[in-house]
Symmetry: D3
Subunit: 155 residues, 6 copies
């Protein structure tokens, strides 16, 4: 059975932290689906289509990566995509507590899908999309926190 | 002096986690008041009256339980009800940090009222009302996370 | 059924933190057994008999408190004493993580015995027997961290 | 080079916890700028001008303290004020996790500015502006949680 | 390149928690090496050979599992075995903090080896070898905490 | 009053993490005393004299640094050295919980001495002396984790 992982998130915008998790996890799976969760009631900071294009641009030429958007529960999306793994990065123990709740609820609803974690590298462990948006909103320079391929566009 | 505990929350909706905490704590107190905090500025997901009916249904025939709604500070409600204990469940260390702040502030304002904690059982420790609402909102099946007595109604 | 709680520890020595937990929990139970766990392979800093006498002195005239020593598992001691509760104080989230493991293991072995927690008061939350012993070992004055009744003796 | 620290926050309202951090840190710096961050999209509970007056009143006659408001990124404000330190208080490990992210992001953007932390004193460690506002909103008495100089005004 | 993971530990003794992590991770790797770290200066509770036999017995007939003992650094053992992954289970945020330090140090020494984490299932999250040994030492019944295949032997 | 800080530790051996904390804190104080705590009952991995020489070598030519050894309580040593600050680095929330206990106990015994914290930089946050000793014990190469000035000597 092929090993397909969903890497879910809002990627609003994708950060160097996300990029690192994806690249480092690629050898472990046959395919990684970067899955942009779309919330029907809350609009994002950047348009969904823009976020998708940025991720596609970053991984241009990288096989085994797909970028998709989805609505609804992550486990339902996994099932639809025949993915048996959810991939998540861990930065802090606050992350861990949050992720544990989500992973256990997912497991209660579908124990065929396993959540796999890898650690953020230390120098990227403070980076998150919320802070990146906050810097941009305040006219700061957040370019070092987003992947080099899209650095000129995210502002 | 009789031992009366208030178990405060929004119960939007009540989960199997809440139910377990209440049932396991019953022998410790003469009465437990399940107290639904009503926020005058923020409406809940389910109507207050519905939440109250569900809890009453779950504990039908169980003596020593009352279900009430209240506005304002929890310690003021305790005083009004002559309750000398606040009962809380603990799931994670994030819970603990949050509960400690609330309990210490309450103690500063009224040191006659003691907060008593019991642990969620492991298999219920990931369940919380926020995730339950999120599943329902996304048309998922959350029935296993709410008490069996109301499983057919909460959706 | 009467409510009997075991408050287990090494009490080497008992601190003002322990004393506060016991006094605040007294109204909740019909009897609290302060239970000094004796480790057959590791000797304590103070002799077991001394530790027991100190606790007895502190609670002289207080009804509903017994001081005992025990060997073996805490849940076996509870069963022997017909205690249905284990009482523990919580100071920090590190405490919480540790206590959760113990409480869940105990529950797996005997689900008739419930562990009940109350919070240390903030000004006592840093006090623990290890640091007290360390101060004494270094000829410091630890008297403010032990109950007033035994302040002159513990050094 | 003189040691100038910025103590940033929303101070909505300033608490006894904030006051304690500032007073205890004064000997360490040549000047502390209490900096009220103004969010252009989200109004506060108390008007910015009121919050500023309260802080000025509390520190009347105390040299080496300035109270200012600022918009935009904290590190940009620091640069403008020639401040080389950001001062922060730590209450809980949840605080720590949050502060670490902010401090590391700030450091990535400007490694000339160092963040310095001191601990809240235990008896003040549960106090935060959110809970204070919550008490006021519910007609409770929060006066013990705000500095004595402004106790009669904050309600 | 084949995906080989080392699952290092002292397994003194192996618990149902360990067993669950291994079984759930099997589909992710081509081979898992259960690696018993041998400390030359500190003897274990059970003899190394016994611990190895127990693990072999549990996984009798399961392909893709090897049980080995090793001395020295885990990353040196990985290199020797041509393993590119270290597998670890996560139970609590205390676990997480500990594992992060180890994983980052390993990464600093050899960034070809990635540490992959999966979560313990909730009902097993309190089980650890230290507590199991403690129960056995106190003549308690720890059989429910060790894999069924060896339940009669571990005591 | 001059600002003198004690930076206490066992420095067995000093790491790049320690070195970074000291260098970054130098501008904040008039003098930093790197204070090697000597435990009369427990010998270190490296001899005290060696540890002291290494630190002196690293900071050769750096004004405002002194290296001393001390026995007994840190606050007694501070008083003797007329130091009004204790300097500590924070890496993780586990660190924070530990340091808070120590700092609060110190404050209870002498409220003239303030503990000041700065954060480890992310890429150094996993480094600690225990792991360094463990690598050396297992014949690994720990040189990247100790300051460059002593890299050839620590093994």
């Amino acid at each position: 059975m092929s090993k397909i992982a969903v890497f879910p998130g809002s990627f609003d915008p994708i950060t160097t932290g996300h990029e690192s998790i994806i690249r480092r996890s690629l050898p472990l799976f046959d395919k990684i689906i970067v899955a942009i969760g779309v919330n029907s009631t809350k609009e994002g900071f950047f348009p969904t289509e823009k976020r998708k294009q940025w991720i596609e641009k970053i991984f241009t030429g990288v096989k085994n990566i797909e970028v998709k958007t989805y609505k609804g529960l992550t486990i339902d999306f996994c099932k639809q995509e025949k993915a048996n793994y959810i991939l998540r990065g861990l930065r802090t123990s606050a992350d861990f507590e949050f992720e544990r709740v989500i992973a256990q609820m997912n497991r209660s609803m579908n124990d065929k899908i396993e959540t796999v974690f890898i650690l953020s590298t230390p120098e990227l462990s403070a980076i998150n999309s919320t802070v990146v948006r906050d810097i941009i909103r305040n006219n700061g320079d957040a370019s070092q926190f987003v992947p080099s391929a899209i650095r000129k566009e995210v502002k």
